[in-house]
């Protein structure tokens, strides 16, 4: 069985510096993968390279097809990318923003939406609990509500692969948990979800797999317990962690400086 997403010796140079160096990996479908690492480790750059948004050396494959062999539209249909910051430049309604997720599938006018498009948009809004904002301008929503609308936008495209950059940044704890749970459920439905995050505690609990980056290199990859070791945390983040086991789940809380 081929992996959902394969990276073959991916390197990305930005401003003459190798920000991502020689990353090779294969990720399976139906997995929730957290991409961790300190600021400047190259997480966002790697995510963009996966999405084909940056010129990178090496080969990215969706299934067994190289990204370069797919048209922009095909790529957009199979892969959803949610950038950091949740920018919205015009006060569009929630429904219109979510309907943008159907753009790669040829939806021209959200007002005339029907069939598969309407189903996908409604399902995405339902799953993210944003249906009640449908007619409201996104710019009037709170940060947490807006984050979920943006998530609904990518879900509406029903991509096989979901690449998400810091979905929980600047959200309150309730929304941090909700958004991470939303992502996990999407993985349970069969998508490969890769999320860049700084939330070690939530990632260790909810992610199936953790990839740890440091200075452009992928230093560790595997189950949370195997990756978030004291040694790795000290080396990569320079921190110590508090570990507790509650109901059989190991909780890793960043604690002090190493």
């Amino acid at each position: 069985m081929s992996a959902a997403l394969t990276l073959d010796r991916i390197s990305v140079a930005l401003g003459g510096r190798d920000v991502v160096r020689d990353v090779t990996l294969a990720l399976g479908a139906a997995r929730f993968v957290a991409l961790l690492g300190p600021n400047g480790a190259g997480k966002t750059t790697l995510l963009k390279a996966m999405a084909g948004l940056l010129p990178a050396r090496g080969i990215v494959r969706i299934g067994n097809q190289p990204l370069a062999a797919l048209s922009r539209k095909q790529r957009a249909q199979r892969m959803g990318y949610l950038p950091q910051g949740h920018q919205v430049h015009w006060p569009l309604s929630t429904c219109d923003v979510v309907a943008l997720g159907r753009f790669p599938h040829g939806l021209a006018d959200p007002a005339a939406m029907r069939g598969a498009d309407a189903t996908a948009v409604n399902t995405a809004m339902m799953r993210t609990d944003t249906t009640r904002f449908a007619d409201q301008a996104v710019t009037t929503l709170s940060g947490g509500e807006r984050a979920r609308v943006m998530l609904a936008r990518v879900l509406a495209g029903q991509p096989e692969i979901l690449l998400v950059d810091e979905p929980t940044a600047s959200l309150d704890p309730r929304y941090q948990i909700t958004v991470m749970q939303d992502l996990r459920s999407e993985a349970r439905r069969g998508a490969l979800v890769v999320a860049v995050t700084h939330d070690i505690a939530l990632a260790s609990r909810l992610a199936d797999e953790i990839m740890l980056m440091h200075e452009g290199l992928l230093v560790a990859r595997g189950a949370p317990a195997d990756v978030l070791t004291d040694e790795h945390l000290a080396k990569v983040y320079g921190i110590t962690a508090l570990r507790q086991t509650i109901d059989g789940e190991e909780i890793v809380t960043p604690w002090g400086l190493a």
């Binding site: 922009r72 957009a76 990318y81 920018q87 919205v88 015009w90 569009l92 943008l100 753009f103 007619d135």
Partner: protein, 336 residues
């Protein structure tokens, strides 16, 4: 509820445009009634009316309609591309640069006001200005950066035009240039319509086809790209479309400013701020504005004719100031 304004907006605007178009044919030194206009158009009734309507007023009305529409559409397209409500061809020096290019070829004796070289020169000028602006201001430019760069481009075009007048071979050439700059639809013939129409039609199609991409750009360039939009190509197509539309308009009517800024603004709240749904209403509104302005200059009692370009600037600039007042916060912040 979202769809309510949309359903009546287009018919209402179309009706308004049709009314203004008819008024454009009726108003002038010889006032005609509605029936006289239509019989004049159809070639029945008085010969004099037929000549006034078909040869004098029809070209003027058609030009007002198509130039207003393309200016409104260009404004909507630039605002969509730059995701900025203050973007408009005239603020970025496009008409001024187009006029500069056109007048220099006149001053140099390469073109007269009816040759095909004129739209080509002004389209080239407009393309250069928009290209320069986007190159200087960068991809995700802030309001401040765009406006400053636009100011610089306009100033440069102004200086170039001044130089062309300065170097003009005779006072008549200088006078011709001066009148050109005021922007007018007076005494135009079907020849002018034929000269501008192909470029304007191509521009309208080019810009209108990008509407979906403008909507996707609402989420920022990276998100748009991940949705399958080729942002670099889009930028080039919009520059080309705006240059074709503005350049061709300037070639036949001189500089007519601020329609592109005002028109999208008037309809934006009515279409829910969606840059895609904005395109056609903005074009219709632009056409209505220019036709109304061209009727107004004929009605305003003045010893000498007021040029329509003067009127649109007189209305447009205060409107621009009003917009700045409302955007003060984002301007002060330096980022949009």
């Amino acid at each position: 509820m979202r769809n309510l304004p949309r359903s009546w907006l287009l018919p209402a605007l179309a009706l308004l445009a049709a009314t203004l178009f008819t008024a454009c044919l009726a108003v002038g030194p010889v006032r005609l009634t509605f029936t006289e206009v239509w019989s004049g158009l159809a070639g029945i009734g008085l010969d004099a009316h037929g000549i006034i309507v078909r040869e004098i007023r029809l070209p003027r009305a058609v030009l007002a309609l198509m130039i207003g529409a393309i200016l409104g559409l260009s404004g909507a397209a630039m605002q969509g591309l730059l995701r900025n409500p203050l973007a408009a061809p005239s603020l970025f020096g496009a008409p001024q640069t187009a006029a500069f290019a056109a007048v220099s070829t006149i001053a140099l004796g390469w073109n007269d006001t009816l040759s095909w070289g004129l739209p080509v020169a002004s389209i080239g000028g407009a393309f250069l200005s928009v290209f320069l602006l986007i190159a200087v201001a960068g991809r995700s430019a802030s309001l401040l950066l765009l406006i400053l760069s636009g100011l610089a481009v306009s100033a440069l075009a102004g200086a170039g035009t001044a130089l062309a007048m300065n170097l003009a071979p005779n006072p008549f050439a200088a006078l011709e240039i001066a009148f050109w700059l005021l922007g007018s639809l007076e005494d135009r013939s079907m020849r002018h319509v034929v000269m501008a129409l192909p470029f304007i039609a191509v521009a309208a199609v080019l810009l209108f086809l990008q509407r979906g991409a403008f909507r996707a750009l609402t989420l920022g360039e990276e998100a748009a790209q991940s949705l399958g939009v080729n942002v670099d190509l889009l930028r080039l197509v919009v520059i080309l479309g705006v240059a074709l539309g503005v350049g061709a308009s300037v070639a036949v009517a001189g500089t007519i400013s601020f329609i592109g800024l005002v028109a999208p603004h008037l309809v934006r709240p009515l279409v829910g701020h969606d840059p895609a749904r904005l395109m056609i209403p903005a074009a219709l509104t632009g056409a209505c504005l220019l036709m109304a302005a061209d009727i107004a200059v004929r009605l305003i009692p003045a010893t000498s004719d007021i040029k329509v370009g003067v009127l649109t600037s007189l209305i447009g600039v205060p409107f621009f100031l009003y917009l700045i007042m409302h955007q003060r916060r984002s301007l002060a912040g330096g980022v949009a």
